[in-house]
């Protein structure tokens, strides 16, 4: 637990028309972390993801990505700071091939006229809103399009690099044989993996996975767990996983946050969380507890299935 803090949420909350969907949410992800976010249906897990990635703007609290405050920034800006995600209900670009799905995410960092750092520096100095920086950005973009239209040698080289990287990611996720297949034609499990490959294409430092194992069978889940760990080490990521399957979460996560009705009810190592009566209550309801006299169902994490 010594890596730098990549993602930090402090007392984050949001209301939809008076309804508190999330309240007082705290989170910290460091490089090398693998944390879990669990909770019953409607607990606010996906809302938390949407807040962290900028889909919603928090009404309370503060979110920092790699040290920068990101409240109110657009999702794509937050993504560029090093935060990527997958979606609970797979949102691939269905008509695009597997390769193109990843290539969309492999955005080139080369900027033709002004460097990204220079623009960021200008923005910082002008506290976010700098017309000069915006103009530079726009000029960059338009020139970049002209490079594509004129098919300059430099641009061709960049395209080749993007393709190479995308193919590499497909290989890491075991999808190289699906390279030219349309995403919608892939089997379910492969679609999930493709989503992860796509997220990795944006060169994230933190990766948020929204129910990556949903709809998979036990064997596939096991494979996935191994893969997730492997990804963390290979790409030096910080990881946050939403999962419905307690077994899975308990198996791989080093720390778990439990949400219920938008409130964090428990937080800590898997063993501690599992014992927490509030968690049991949230998951199983009062009647269950009453009937069983506060008995905590003993569950052991599934043994790790061997790598494929």
């Amino acid at each position: 637990m010594s890596g730098e803090v990549l993602l930090q949420a402090v007392q984050v909350g949001i209301e939809f028309g008076g309804l508190r969907a999330l309240h007082g949410f705290d989170l910290e992800i460091r490089q090398g972390d693998l944390k879990g976010l669990i909770g019953p249906n409607g607990a606010g897990k996906t809302t938390a993801f949407n807040l962290l990635t900028g889909v919603y703007v928090p009404t309370h609290g503060e979110i920092r990505v790699c040290g920068e405050r990101v409240n109110g920034r657009k999702p794509h800006q937050i993504n560029r700071l090093g935060l990527a995600r997958t979606f609970q209900n797979i949102r691939l670009f269905r008509a695009l091939t597997a390769l193109d799905n990843v290539r969309v995410a492999c955005l080139s960092d080369e900027r033709p006229l002004f460097t990204r750092e220079r623009i960021a520096e200008l923005r910082r100095r002008a506290a976010g809103r700098s017309p000069v920086a915006s103009a530079m950005d726009a000029l960059n973009n338009y020139v970049d399009w002209w490079r594509a239209i004129l098919l300059t040698p430099g641009f061709q080289e960049e395209e080749r690099e993007i393709t190479r990287r995308a193919e590499e990611l497909l290989r890491v996720m075991g999808l190289e044989h699906r390279r030219d297949e349309e995403a919608r034609n892939l089997p379910y499990g492969e679609q999930r993996r493709l989503e992860i490959a796509r997220a990795l294409g944006t060169r994230p430092r933190v990766l948020l996975l929204d129910e990556p194992a949903a709809g998979m069978n036990t064997r596939e889940k096991g494979d996935l767990m191994v893969l997730i760990r492997q990804l963390r080490d290979q790409f030096s990521l910080g990881l946050l996983v939403i999962e419905h399957d307690m077994k899975l979460v308990m198996g791989i996560c080093e720390a778990i946050t439990v949400l219920d009705h938008g409130v964090t009810i428990a937080c800590g190592a898997p063993e501690g969380v599992r014992q927490d009566p509030k968690v049991i209550e949230a998951y199983l309801g009062d009647s269950y507890l009453a009937a069983h006299g506060l008995q905590v169902p003993a569950r052991t994490p599934t043994s790790e299935t061997p790598a494929p």
Binding site: K74, F93, L107, L151
Partner: protein
């Protein structure tokens, strides 16, 4: 082929081919006129396809941008009609001025595209439809109110400096631009927006700015098409750039297949020539009496037919003739295909 040559090779080839065509066919007035009309419609369809097809937005005000280009280029040409560039032969000077006015028309349309696109592209797709439609109306009212634009009578006496070469070179350019965008990382981002805006945004694609940029490029070419139009039709007036014209272009794009450049080209050619051909055919067959009245019916039923075409297409084949594919994807395997960009 060396990398630097790949960029400009098609341009060289296109110029050579078009020069030959110009020399062979350039002085058949009727052919040139038809080819120019077809060319302008192809430019409109291919450029609209960048927004409606590739990006998945829906603009129905393309004629408005065409009008901006036509009036800007036409007015400029009228202003500098009597001026020649020193040191150049008259014809060359005319052509330089012509190219200049076309660019001015395109840029004016692009600026309008930016102004219209920025607020509406932040919102959901159907708002763009309404706002672009409204924009077309506003342009019409502006033109009708300003004496410099000849009000209702329009502008006439614009030098007829357009040629087969000029129109089809612009056609070539818009196709080149569309194809190269599609094949590049930018094109993939546009497709991504079309497929799933939320996911595209989450993958670091600045969706609003991409949409606006696509819209600006599309408007630019609509403006160029307008500029060309102004230089081969004898008079431009607000009646040429109505809602009906916009819908005509939409029908071309939808029929060709939203997202297919070659589809848009084929549909534009067919839909421009078909009424023309039917009209001539009826007159050839039926003579003046019955033939002419049948030919008249062709014009009359064109609009309702366009309407029904849209409905039937959406029900039976919503992807249009080609879907998002290009014509070579549908040809037999043994015909060599254009190489992918990467």
């Amino acid at each position: 082929m060396p990398a630097w040559l790949r960029g400009i090779m098609p341009v060289v080839i296109a110029i050579a081919v078009l020069v030959v065509l110009q020399l062979l066919l350039g002085d058949l007035p009727f052919f040139v006129y038809l080819a120019s009309i077809v060319g302008v419609n192809v430019i409109l369809a291919v450029s609209l396809n960048i927004v409606n097809g590739m990006t998945g937005q829906f603009s129905i005000g393309h004629a408005g941008f065409m009008a901006v280009g036509a009036y800007t280029a036409g007015k400029l040409s009228l202003l500098i009609k009597d001026v020649a560039i020193a040191g150049l032969p008259g014809a060359v000077s005319d052509q330089v001025q012509f190219v200049g006015t076309l660019l001015a028309g395109g840029i004016a349309a692009a600026v309008c595209g930016f102004i219209v696109g920025l607020p509406s592209l932040r919102l959901r797709g159907d708002y763009l439809a309404i706002v672009t439609l409204g924009f077309g109306e506003i342009i019409r009212v502006v033109v009708q109110n300003l004496d410099t634009f000849g009000r209702a009578l329009g502008l006439s006496g614009i030098p007829q400096t357009s040629s087969l070469f000029a129109v089809w070179f612009c056609v070539f350019l818009v196709v080149l631009v569309a194809r190269r965008i599609v094949g590049s990382t930018h094109g993939r981002s546009l497709w991504a927006i079309r497929e799933d805006e939320v996911a595209a945004e989450a993958m670091g694609v600045d969706t609003t700015s991409y949409k606006v940029r696509a819209f600006v490029i599309s408007s630019f070419f609509a403006g160029v098409a307008g500029g060309l139009f102004a230089h081969f039709v004898p008079i431009i007036n607000p009646g040429s750039f109505t809602f009906v014209k916009s819908i005509e272009v939409v029908v071309m794009v939808v029929l060709g297949g939203l997202g297919s450049t070659t589809g848009a080209i084929v549909a534009a050619i067919v839909l421009t020539l078909l009424p023309e051909a039917l009209r001539s055919l009826f007159i050839q067959l039926g003579g003046l009496g019955a033939g002419a009245s049948l030919a008249q019916k062709v014009d009359q039923i064109r609009m309702p037919i366009y309407g029904m075409l849209l409905v039937i297409l959406m029900l039976v084949r919503p992807q249009g003739l080609f879907g998002t594919r290009e014509i070579w994807d549908m040809m037999p395997r043994w015909i060599p295909r254009p190489r992918r960009v990467t």
